[in-house]
Structure formats: structure tokens, C-alpha cells
Assembly symmetry: D2
Homo-oligomer: 201 residues x 4
Amino acid sequence: MSKIMWSYRTPGIPDEFFITGEGVPGPTKEEIRTLTISKARLRKDAYVIDVGCGVGSLTVEAALQVGAEGRVFAIDEDEEAVKLTKANLAKFGVQNIVQVIRGKAPEAMLELPLVDAVIIGGSASLKDVIKVSHEKVKEKGRIVVNAIMLETCHEALQEIKRLNFREIDVTTVFVAKGKWVDAGVMMIARNPITIISATKV
Amino acid sequence: MSKIMWSYRTPGIPDEFFITGEGVPGPTKEEIRTLTISKARLRKDAYVIDVGCGVGSLTVEAALQVGAEGRVFAIDEDEEAVKLTKANLAKFGVQNIVQVIRGKAPEAMLELPLVDAVIIGGSASLKDVIKVSHEKVKEKGRIVVNAIMLETCHEALQEIKRLNFREIDVTTVFVAKGKWVDAGVMMIARNPITIISATKV
Amino acid sequence: MSKIMWSYRTPGIPDEFFITGEGVPGPTKEEIRTLTISKARLRKDAYVIDVGCGVGSLTVEAALQVGAEGRVFAIDEDEEAVKLTKANLAKFGVQNIVQVIRGKAPEAMLELPLVDAVIIGGSASLKDVIKVSHEKVKEKGRIVVNAIMLETCHEALQEIKRLNFREIDVTTVFVAKGKWVDAGVMMIARNPITIISATKV
Amino acid sequence: MSKIMWSYRTPGIPDEFFITGEGVPGPTKEEIRTLTISKARLRKDAYVIDVGCGVGSLTVEAALQVGAEGRVFAIDEDEEAVKLTKANLAKFGVQNIVQVIRGKAPEAMLELPLVDAVIIGGSASLKDVIKVSHEKVKEKGRIVVNAIMLETCHEALQEIKRLNFREIDVTTVFVAKGKWVDAGVMMIARNPITIISATKV
């Protein structure tokens, strides 16, 4: 596997740079990934948990942001997802910054240290994951939930409000990408995503 | 003026952190700013030109990305814009990284050094600005145009194609933000923006 | 008040044709109005209830669709809304087709006859309104809810599912309108709306 | 082929009701179809040209609006499109209202009578089609262009302006549809479309 140097400081790796696999969701599309990482407000040495890491695209971006002094814990219960995430970490040279955990959230989060941010791409136990995230996030730390379903959006918002997170931000993003066809540029839509983020007080 | 420490490595400063003024456009809204900066693919020591800097929100974000080893040239022909940009640079502690130039683009770009990226928020002479950008951007450097008008979008795309930029990306972004009202969260739309970015070969 | 002849058969009266008033929501924007009326699937002689009629824009469009053989019941608890609705009915010459009721929904719905469609633009008692709508709608009749808040969207969907409506359709619509400015056409966003519609079995 | 009774007066036939075929574009998605028909502002007895009719979904909706006293001319140069359009006309019982013409636009438009509206779903010769539309549309008649490409959007707008159409309306529509999956309702995006409509003076 050849190593691609993604030496840019800004998030936003093109989607096709990630190794993918059938049956594993991801990568999180470039623009949504960039905004998700942005909402996590990562410092150079931050600790981050990525819940439901899929192929590891958010994990890689988070690792590039937090750097060698930081740490990312990537959790997925799917064996193939764990494998693909590890492959992508190697591809982007950030394997030393990340610990990949095969397990179910929130159980797999319990033994992790306190972190600066939890990013929740997806989980079957969203409510419990948010509850444990609240415990695991340091004061002024961030939680970021990406919702592609109406129910997830609603449930995340209710739980985040209930736990007294502050600075709650709800951002729905609709992206269309130009595709070059014979006659010109056709706009192809991406599914809308609602990014819910908040700060722990 | 008190200095706010925005010590996060990720772009995405909340809009209300910027000093604004009547008659000067900006700040570029958080999500669009984040994506624009992302598309510019900035390195730690990059040189950047921000054409039509308005209140300087993209300038500040670019400066935070390129850091002390980099350099940002912010151009605006409006006196008030120059003043506000300087105020925001001071607020975010990046005044040493940025040179604010009061002048018209593309003329004001001519004496600048080669750069890694040109960000074009707006300009009355878009076509000429893109042409000069092509000259000013290093090989593998980036151009990013934010278009809020159909004509700008079309003109930018045609000119970027004509100049043989590569990896041309057209991304239309529609954002809605949750606003807390009595009965719940109401989604308030932001105007859609098309971000056109490309790499010089 | 001069009468405007809107003799077109298709819904979609331009927004500025409606008489409006401060403090009364509406008109429902043209495109959303057109789609809402479309989702109600009105016949020439249909009976319709419009809950929370505001200035009466959906009421007018529904009346134009159902014609002299149909009937529209427009409900709003606000006195000014009732007045504006009546003014718009007169303006479009459909006052004989519509009964405007000042009252709270769902209470005000109880004495109405069975109808072919209920359109719910807004209500403080959404859940109860949907419940009574289920009783008031004939078999194969339609319910259409316009949600601008995340909570409304969620609550409407849950209640509609619970009541065993069929053919449930969830459509989120993001519209941007071209505005002519000096330099060209700028796209101005409208707030996104989710239209939930379904058929009673 | 069994006949489906679509007896509703409002446009908005569900997509799956149309007979489709590989290689022929369409049906125009329900919401876009409804809005397109709405922008054409059809009267009960209107004459309409549908350029690039594909499977005939806009043709059917237009025919249902104009009724037996009106007339729709559906043009497509593809043999299969003509066949599918005829099949859909039969399915919806509007074959007597529509004349399907196999041919290229604008040439195929030249011998048609004056009409109240021209709907342009797609054409290789957009500019010329708009020019001939201007000749074929009666005073106060309407032109409606659906653009899925940036170039089409730009070209249509320029030509419509040049020909002094009035009340030019540019509406970009982004639609997402709820899809029922195990865990709830996922929002699936449709490609954005820009509908440009105007009135001939």
C-alpha cells in the first residue's frame, strides 16, 4: 500500500482517496466530513472518540488535526470496518495517533479516558452513546452527531438538550456536486445531513 | 479590544465572533467559510491571497491555518472593509501574518509574490481576477471562487476551464440553521453558494 | 378592492397577489403552496379543511381547485387572520366556496362534515389536530402537514404512523429564488419545509 | 393496459404510475413536475408544447390540466420516447388531447399553431428552441425551462432576457424524499433543478 502524503492542514480529503469496502458505510462525504471536523473544534493535542467509524474517514481527518500529541479512539463493531479503518490510517500515516476498537458503543467507550470531543457518525444506541459521551467529554468539550434520519435528528437533539449541553447548533447541509457530462456540468445531489453539535458545560 | 483566543486548529469560527460593519459584506457564514478554506487546501506555511476580503473572516481563518510561517494578502477596495479586516486580525491575533491591501483586484494582485492559493469571495472583475490568479498561483496551487450569483458561477467556471486548471470541483451548498423558538427548533435557510475550486497544473 | 382574475387551473398564485398583514403568517410561499395543494390531491368537488389558514393563501388555492361544487373550511383563531383570509377570498372571487371559522383547532373542526382532505399549515395542538383529522377525513382522503420545525416534523410523522395512515410521503423542499441585482441573478433561499402527506385507509 | 383513473384536479401524479423505459429520461419527478406545470399557468382550454417529452410525464399532467378543450403537442426525436409517451397517454386516458410528434426541436415546432405555453424539459438546441418558443407563444403566454445543468440554466436565462420575456422567475428546487428504512425515515436527495419561467409580452 503506497502512502499518500496529505500534508494539508485543512480537513477535506477527496472521497476517492479512502479505501472502501462493500457493506461498510463511508467515507463520510468530503464536505460533510469537513464540517463535522470543524464542529468538533479540535486542538492540536486533542483527544477524540469517533463512534461508528466505518471506513475511518472522520478518524483520519481527526487524527490529522490533533497530530502526534493528540489521540483518536475509533470504535466500530463491524470487523470489516475495523480492518478498513486500519488500512486508511496506514495510508495516511496516522496509525500511531489512533486506537481502533472493535466493539459496541457505548460499552466500548466506558474504559476510554476523558476526551475533548466525541463524534457520532452512527450508532444503534444513540441515546446511550450521547449519555456516555456527556460523561466522557471534558468541560468545554464538544459533541457532534451526524444525522441522516429524521428520528436520529430528533432523538439526538432531545438528549443533548436534556443533558444540558450548551451552544447547541443544528445545521442541515444539502450539497450538490457538479458532474461533467457531454453537454456541461450537471448538479448531482448528496443526501442532506443534519449536524448537531454542542459544548459541555 | 479584547483578544479572543481561538486556539482550535479546525476552521469554523462562529459568525458572531467577527467584528462587522454596515455596508461591508461578511462575515462569510461559518459553514461556507469552513468549506472554502478546506477547498483551498492550505499548508502550515502557505501563502494566500484573499480577493474581496470584506470584514476579513476568510482572511482570519486562512491566517490561522497557515500560521506564522505563512502569509495572507487580503485585498479590498473599500476603506471600511480594510478597517474591519484589520480589527478582526487584531481580535484573533493574526495581524502579523496578514498584509491588508486597499485596492482593486486584479491590479492590486500584480505586485504580490507567487502564492499557494487564491480565494475569491467577490470581485467586479472576476474574469480578470481569475486570469491573474492563474499567473500568481504556484504549480499545484489552488483557486477557490465563491459564487452567489448565477452569472458569477458560470463566468468563473468558463474561465477556470479555459485556463486549463485541473481537478475542477463545483459544489453547491445549501445550509439551514436551527433557530430556537418557543415551540422548538425552526430551520432557517442560508442563501445557497456555489464553491468552484481547482488546481493549477 | 379590485378583483384579480386568476383564471389558471394550476395552483401557484404569485405571493404578491395576496393581501397580507403584520403579525399574521403567510402567504405560504408559492412553490410550497403549489406542492401542498398537489399533495392534497383535490378533486373538482372536494371538501377541504385548512387548519391555521393565516392570510388564506392555501385556502384560496384549495377553493380554486375544488370549485363551486366543493367546499373549503378555513380555521384560524386569530381575528386578523380571519379578516385577511376573507379579504383574499373576495379578491380571488371564491368567498362562496369557503367558510372561514374563527376558532381553535381541533375543537373548531368537530362540527364540520367529513372532508376529502385536511391541510395543516400550523397549529399549537398538532397531535390532537391530526387525531381529529383522521376522524374527519373520508376513506382514501388525504392529510397534509407543513412542518417548519424539527419537532413538528417528528410529531406529525409519529402521529400519522400511529393512526395507520397509508402512502406516507415525507418531502423536504429547499427553494432558492433568483433576485435581480445589478450584477445579475442572486439566489435567495427560502426556509426549508417538510411536507408530510398520507392517505387514510 | 389497464387504465388508472387519476381524477384529481391537482397535478402531482406519483412517479411510479408512469410507464418507463431504459434509455428514455423521465418521468420528471413528482414535485418538479408539479412545479413546472404550475409555472406554465395553464387554463382549462390551453394549448401547450412539451419539448423533449421523454416518457411523457409532463405531457400527461399538462393534458389533465387543459382538458378536452385544450391541446398538447409533445415532441421528442427518440422513437422509444414517442412510444412510451403514447403508452402513458393511453394509461391516463388523455390520448385525444395530445399529438405526439417524433422530431427535432425547434424544427418540429415550426408548423404548430400558436400556444399558451411551451415547456422545455430538455433539448440539444436550447437557444433555438427558446427563440422559436418566443414566436409560438401567444401574448401573455408562458415559457418554462427545466435546467439540470449549469450551462443550460445560464443559456436559458440569457436567451429569455434577450427576447424580452417579462416576469422572469428563477427557482432552484432541492428536494429530499423520506425513505423508510429499519431504523426510521432517511432523507434521500433528488438532484436540484432550476426552473426558469417567464411571460411573453
